[in-house]
Amino acid sequence: MQVEKFSYDNQIVKQFTIAALIFGIVGMLVGLILAIQLYMPELNLGLQYITFGRIRPLHTNAVIFAFVGNIIFAGVYYSLQRVCKTRMFSDLLSQIHFWGWQTIIVLAAVSLPLGITTGKEYAELEWPIDLMIAIVWLTFGTNMFGTIIKRREKHMYVAIWFYIATFVTITILHVVNSIEIPVSLIKSYPIYAGVQDALTQWWYGHNAVAFFLTTPYLGLMYYFLPKAANRPVYSYRLSILHFWALIFLYIWAGPHHLLYTALPDWAQSLGTVFSIMLIAPSWGGMLNGLLTLRGAWDRVRDNPILKFMVVAVTAYGMSTFEGPMLSLKNFNAITHYTDWTIAHAHIGALGWNGFLSFGLLYWLIPKMWGTELYSKKLANLHFWVGTLGIVFYAIPLYWAGLTQSLMWKQFTPLGILQYPNFLETVLQIIPMYILRSIGGLLYFAGIFLCVYNLIKTAKLGTFIKNEDAEAAPYIKEKDQMKRGLIHRWLEKRPAQFALLALVVVLIGGLVELIPTYLVKSNIPTIASVKPYTPLELQGRDIYIREGCNTCHSQMVRPFRSETERYGEYSKVGEFVYDHPFLWGSKRTGPDLHREGGKYSNLWHYLHFEDPRQMSPGSIMPQYPWLFTQSIDISVTPAKINVMRSIGVPYEEGYENFANQDLMKQANTIADDLLNNGVPAEPDKEVIALIAYLQRLGTDIKGNQTVNK
């Protein structure tokens, strides 16, 4: 057969690599700042733009979508060309993809500190950026499928299966979770409310972890690990089994983020059982990775690349075991809302994603520059500094999470909360926060060793922009599906493969989401629950803008220790007008769902001015800007209109009177403050926020027995 000559595009890989390293440094730096702010809130320098609630989403977005994202694209562009034996489908699409993605990242880095956010975790970016993401993602998909179609290799290698599943699923997740109605260019409300929004969001959030942090990385592992180890993949059968099982089961597990919340019991149970069933398929990936190293273990000792990969795959195995355990309700009751979750996430992020990325980079850069790694010693040092960083990061947080949770639940022999003051439980774990930031610092220092080493490596060699290759063309031949070789047949058909993957991932999503949207019995309505007043709505948007939900949950779980501390547990019917839901996922501060009426307006006013004058030792930042910035009442009518269009029963024409009501309520609060000795301007943002907080959880207060 005629051998064809062609070349691989290394330029695009290089671009993505450089972008990944730059944004990796930025993302981790922001993480470090956040870790220190947890015990030193004044590190925000009094600036709203770098206050915890605003830059926490910046950190998560930067490390997930900028660092990991760019590594994925670098790895996919490198490996896809080679396992398809062809150049990318279109260099132009590659470049559009690259520059489009970087523009999105820059827009995110500007908009999030400005407080432009949807408030939905890992999907904080506002609707214009969401649209851009969709376009750029489809560009990537087109380029990828184009490449697969013009491949010279008969079958698609397992890495490609994972890339396809990633593309298909992320597309669905992003589209479904981002359906929102714009209020202005920088503000929108999701069409889902309350429990529906929560379920959709965590279906998305969980599977962003599954299909952005896991499946593409498994694909990368399947290419780069056998390459680096120079060993055959352990088991092809295991690849098939764990691939399909993984993508089918993963999509169901989202509700495990909402255990013991107001989510219906049946959905919670699905979350639990599918998480447990995920153990084996997840471990399938780890096994195939580690067992591929059989016969290469002697090389692991002196090869930093393999070391990074071994720890990465092990961390993957650890966190995919820990995850299902955390999905068991009795375990979840202890760990949820605490720092345990943060530790768990970082075993995955720092161990699995971080270390696999470093292993990949140390292998890839010398290859593309046609040379050897500049310094094995430095890479080894990086490995140890990074490992130590992970240990120092995770162990204090596990400890902190467990300590705090036990303190929340502790009753005295008389049956009264032992630590009724939430702050006490926070102050107890501050030393752990300090240790954790040291762990973070170590890991952060490691990436500089990496960058230095890679730059030096690049200087040793010369960049091979277009790498020459040759292969025989793939001539399609008719074949029949044969017993025992069905998958082999499928591996030749990218379209059918993608379609099947789509069907497989859709099943779980549909079964969980559709009944929650349609079946009324899932959300028993409560007559006393009314829409927010215009002032409360504005206050709620300020709450979202400041990212209050990153530290305060709004979900009192049905535990005696919580109903004693906060009040009646949260009912699903209370959230029907919450676009978006603000249940939160972490309690750095106390739950706020029953905050309404708990303290006076004055208390809140002084608390926002300086939390420490009301709660000595508090780690909440000050919010001086809320006292100088005025409520933007020009958008009130638009907000009312959009809310009405998505089912909130404001009367027709109410938008014309909304601002009158708003001022009336604001004046009432200002008058109350004045009566208590503090003159306050009614048009300031703090007034709206107080109005919202005083409303929280009060709709059903009449129906409850506050005390026994």
């Binding site: 490996s79 080679r82 396992v83 034996k85 079958h155 290698y157 890495a159 290419y223 056998p226 390459k227 055959p232 993949v233 352990y234 088991s235 092809y236 059968r237 295991l238 089994l241 099982a245 013991y260 019991d265 049946w266 919670q268 149970s269 699905l270 639990t272 059982v273 599918f274 447990i276 069933m277 153990i279 084996a280 398929p281 471990w283 399938g284 096994l287 067992l291 059989r294 016969g295 309700k329 005295t412 008389l414 049956g415 009264i416 909360l417 009724p420 003051n421 049905p558 535990f559 005696r560 109903t563 547990y569 009426g597 708990k598 303290y599 006076s600 208590n676 506050v706 005390n707 026994k708």
Partner: protein, 282 residues
């Protein structure tokens, strides 16, 4: 003869294990039990090491082949892995940019784990949502609350837990001193240094908004009047402390402090003995 050597330590350890079987039951002497358990564990380890030396010396099994034989067989049965030396036999004709694939069997332990979790999932769903009513968490919560209420009742009956119905006026100096301390720490900002009233009402006159007398005062402190700024103290002060501060407030009656706030509420008269639970307002 040899079988005795194996069986004897085995039965000894079994005996100790059953002896310790209630180890994980909650109890006051759990620490003691842990210590005993550790002791037994140590004895078992020592016995095991002794047994090993006997077996090794008798068999001259320096590489531990005899000893490890069952383990090696088990490992083989669990992994069904083809040894590296023979892997050419299962090397598939796949070659992706130099990456080859072996056709090792799915490890039986992995398959067992996979199918095991699926069976577990079915059992879980059936037991909660088919054989039970599916009201998982509200049921759990109600049980927890009932249990606590039951325990609370016992405490109330035994007199350990004071509530607004069982509270009595304390007159001893120590309690009043404690009450004064609590008052100074928590109450003076609203009710004044001497109970003369500031934002909150005067506590020294005959007039009470939410009822006078030890029981009503205790109740007001416990539950609070949030809409007027009086917070509920029951999660912060235990009942004894609330009794102390209530008693102290009672002792302020008629002290006529300077700058006393005007009377608010209705004049309170101590009811006849029989009707002590009546309260005014809420």
């Amino acid at each position: 003869m040899r079988s005795n050597k194996i069986l004897f330590p085995f039965f000894v350890s079994l005996f100790f294990f059953f002896e310790q079987s209630n180890l994980f039951a909650a109890g006051d002497e759990s620490l003691d039990k842990v210590m005993r358990f550790m002791l037994v564990l140590t004895i078992i380890v020592i016995a095991f090491v002794l047994w090993l030396t006997v077996v090794y010396s008798e068999k001259n099994d320096l590489e531990g082949r005899v000893f490890k034989a069952p383990l090696t067989a088990l490992k083989k049965a669990l992994t069904k892995s083809i040894p590296i030396e023979k892997e050419q036999e299962i090397l598939l004709h796949h070659n992706y940019d130099g990456i080859q694939e072996l056709d090792n069997r799915i490890p039986p332990w992995f398959a067992a784990l996979f199918y095991g979790t699926i069976i577990w999932a079915v059992v879980y769903l059936l037991s909660y949502h088919v054989f039970d009513d599916g009201q998982v968490q509200s049921k759990e919560y109600n049980l927890e609350v009932q249990q606590a209420a039951f325990e609370r009742q016992i405490l109330i009956k035994s007199g350990t837990f004071i509530n607004e119905e069982t509270v009595t006026l304390a007159n001893d100096a120590a309690t009043l001193a404690e009450g004064k301390e609590i008052f100074a720490k928590n109450c003076v900002t609203c009710h004044g240094q001497n109970g003369e009233g500031l934002v909150g009402p005067n506590l020294t006159d005959d007039y009470w908004i939410h009822g006078g007398g030890i029981k009503n005062i205790f109740k007001t402190i416990k539950i609070g009047v949030p809409q007027k700024g009086m917070i509920s103290w029951q999660t912060q002060l235990d009942p004894k402390k609330m009794q102390a501060v209530s008693s102290y407030i009672m002792s302020l009656h008629g002290t006529n402090p300077a700058n006393a706030k005007l009377p608010e509420g209705t004049k309170w008269e101590e009811p006849a003995q029989a009707d002590t639970t009546k309260t005014i307002g809420s």
